[in-house]
C-alpha cells in the first residue's frame, strides 16, 4: 500500500499553521439556538454587519457583495426587514473620522486600540440609533478538518482535494473555508449559527499538503453563492 507518511502531511499543515483558526470540523449542528417559531415571531428587523473573513483570506468587495446579496435575498424572502451593512459601515466611518483615522500619531494609542474602539462603539451605536431586533454576521472562516485519501467532507460539502502525483491512501487534517452566518440578539446571545463548506485551502503535492496561493482562493462565484445560500437555508 502506498501510504503518505502522516508525519509529512502534518508537517505540511504545521507550515500552514497560521491558516488554522479552529480545531476541527464540528458535527452538523442545529443552526437555531432558540426555538425557530419564537425566532420568527420575535426578530423582525435584522441589521447586517459588513461581510468579513479570517485574516488569512483576501476577500474582494465583489465576494463580500455576493455574500450580502444571498443573505439579504433569503431574509427578505422569509419576511424579515433587512438593514443593509452600509448602515453600520457608515457609523464606523463616522467614528473612524472622529478618532482621526485608524492610525494615531499620538503616542500610547495604537491603531489596533482605535480600531477596536470603533468596532465596539459602532455596534453599540447601531442599537442606540435604530429599532432593530437582531444583527447578522457573515464571515468566511478557516477551519482544520479531517480528510482521507484526497477526499474531504465538512459543513455539508464533500469534495476532492487537488493533487499531483499518484493515488495515495492517507489520513490527515486539512485547512478549509466555510461561510458562517450568525444572528445575535441585543444581548449578543446567538440565535442562529450556520456553517456551509466553501473550499479546501490546500492541495497535495506528492506526500505533502501545501497551502494554495491566496490569490487562487475565492474565485469560484458559483461556489461562493452556493455556500452563502446554504448558510441561510434553514432560515
Amino acid at each position: 500500500m502506498n501510504r503518505v507518511p502522516a508525519g509529512s502531511l502534518l508537517a505540511g499543515l504545521a507550515a500552514a499553521a497560521l491558516l488554522v483558526r479552529a480545531a476541527a470540523a464540528a458535527p452538523a449542528e442545529e443552526p437555531f439556538k432558540v426555538n425557530k417559531k419564537d425566532f420568527e415571531k420575535t426578530f423582525k428587523v435584522i441589521a447586517l454587519e459588513p461581510p468579513d473573513a479570517d485574516p488569512y483570506l483576501k476577500v474582494s468587495d465583489s465576494v463580500k457583495a455576493m455574500l450580502e446579496q444571498e443573505v439579504t435575498a433569503r431574509l427578505k424572502k422569509r419576511g424579515y426587514t433587512v438593514m443593509p451593512s452600509s448602515v453600520l459601515s457608515g457609523i464606523r466611518a463616522e467614528m473612524t473620522a472622529q478618532v482621526n483615522g485608524p492610525i494615531d500619531s499620538k503616542p500610547g494609542s495604537s491603531d489596533a486600540a482605535k480600531q477596536a474602539a470603533v468596532r465596539e462603539h459602532a455596534l453599540r451605536e447601531l442599537w442606540f440609533r435604530h429599532p432593530i431586533d437582531a444583527v447578522a454576521v457573515m464571515r468566511i472562516r478557516v477551519f482544520s478538518v479531517p480528510m482521507e485519501s484526497d477526499k474531504v467532507e465538512w459543513d455539508g460539502v464533500s469534495t476532492s482535494v487537488e493533487h499531483s502525483g499518484g493515488r495515495v491512501e492517507y489520513k490527515a487534517n486539512i485547512s478549509v473555508s466555510s461561510v458562517v452566518v450568525a444572528i445575535y440578539d441585543s444581548k449578543e446571545e446567538p440565535l442562529y449559527v450556520s456553517y456551509a463548506g466553501l473550499e479546501p485551502l490546500m492541495h497535495r503535492e506528492g506526500a505533502q499538503l501545501q497551502p494554495l496561493p491566496v490569490d487562487q482562493l475565492l474565485r469560484d462565484e458559483k461556489r461562493i453563492r452556493k455556500a452563502s445560500q446554504a448558510a441561510v437555508d434553514a432560515l
Binding site: G7, V20, Q98, S109, R124, F128, K171, K187, E188
Partner: protein
Amino acid sequence: MNVRLINVALLLLAAKLACAADVVPAYKATKLPDTQDEVELWERASSHENRLRNGGTVFRNRQVEAYIESLADRMLGNSIDHLGITLDFVLVADPVLSAWAYPYGTIGIQSGLLVRMDNEAQFGAILSHEISHFLQRHSYREMLQKKTQGKVGKTIGFLASLALAKQTGSFDPDAMDFAGDLWQNLATSGYSQDNEYVADEEGLAMMARAGMPIGEALPAFRHLAENSVYGAADPRKMWSSHPRLEDRIKSLDKDIKDARRKKGYVEAPPADPLVYYRGIAPVLLVNARLDLQERQFVRAREALQKYLLVRPDDPQAHFLVGETYRRENPRGPDFSASQGAYQKALAQDSAYAPALKELGMTYRLKRQNAEARKALEQYLATDPAAADAGIIRGYLVGLQ
C-alpha cells in the same frame, strides 16, 4: 494528639495504598529519570511545557505560585527531598477547570480550576491528585504499558496537550507525540482508570497530612462537572469523564468513609475560604475577565465577589462586576446593578476611567443627558488620550 491520630489514619491509608499501587512504587529509583525511555518521556514533556510557557496564555504571579508551593509543602513534607526534585507550577489563564502533571514534577493548573474551588482543601484535593500522578510515575507507567500492548505510547497527559491546543488553535502533532488522527487519540487518551483511582486515594492521604478536611474532596470533584458550560462538544471537558466522574466520586466517598471509620480518626477543621481567596486573589480577577469574554456572567460575578471579600478596595473588581451586569443586559432599561457597581468603583478611585465611561454610557442610554455628559466629560478629563476619546467627544456634542 490530633497530629498523632492523623498519622494513624495516614498509615492505614498508606497500607491500603501499598496494595493498590504495587505496580510501581513512588520514586524509589536512585537516579531520575531512570531509563532511556523515561529520559525521552521527560524531554518530550519538557518540550511541550516550553511551548506552553512561550505561548502567551501562561501567567506568572509569584504570590500565587508561592501559595500553591506552600500547600504542596504541607502535603509532602520532606518526603521527596531525597529525589532532588522540586515541584514547579505552571499557571494557565483558561476558564476551563483543568490540571495535569508533567512527569518531572511540574504541575499545570488552569485558572478556572483555581477559581471554582471554594477553599484550599478543595483545591488541595485536585493538587494532591496531580502530585500523586507525578509521584506514581503514571505517565511513564502508561507509556510502558502501551508499549507492551504494542500501541503507540502516550506520554504526557492529554490535558496538557489540550491546554496547548487552546492557545495555538490547533493540536500540535509534535506536542501530542504521535502521528495519526489526533482527535481519535484524544478520545483514547488519559490515565487508566486504575491509575486515576490510585491518584484519588493517595491524594486523600496527602490532604490529611496537610491538615485538610478530606471530605472537601467530594465537592472539589463535583465542581469538575461544571466544565459543560464551556461547550457540550468541547473535548476539554474530558477531565470529568475519564473515568466517569460519578464513579470516581462514589469511590472517593467510600475512601473517605473508610478513613473516617478508622479508630482515632479526627477530621481536620473546616477550611477558611478567605485564606484561599487571599492566596489566589490575582487569579480570581484574571479568570473573571475570561469568564466575561465567555459570557459566563454569573461565574464571573461569583469570582469577583470572592475577590472583593479579600480586596474590597480594588476599583477594577467593582468595575468588572458592573460589566457583568451591563453585558448581561446591554440595552437596559434597568441599569441599577451596573451603575451601582460603577459607583462603587468610583468610590474607591474617583478617577477610575473605565467606570466613568460606562457610567456615562448607561446614562446616555437612559436619556439622562446631564448625568451622561458629566460622567463622559470626567472620563475625557481623566484619560484624554483614550483610544475612543474622539468618539466620546462626538457623543458629548449630541448630548448638548
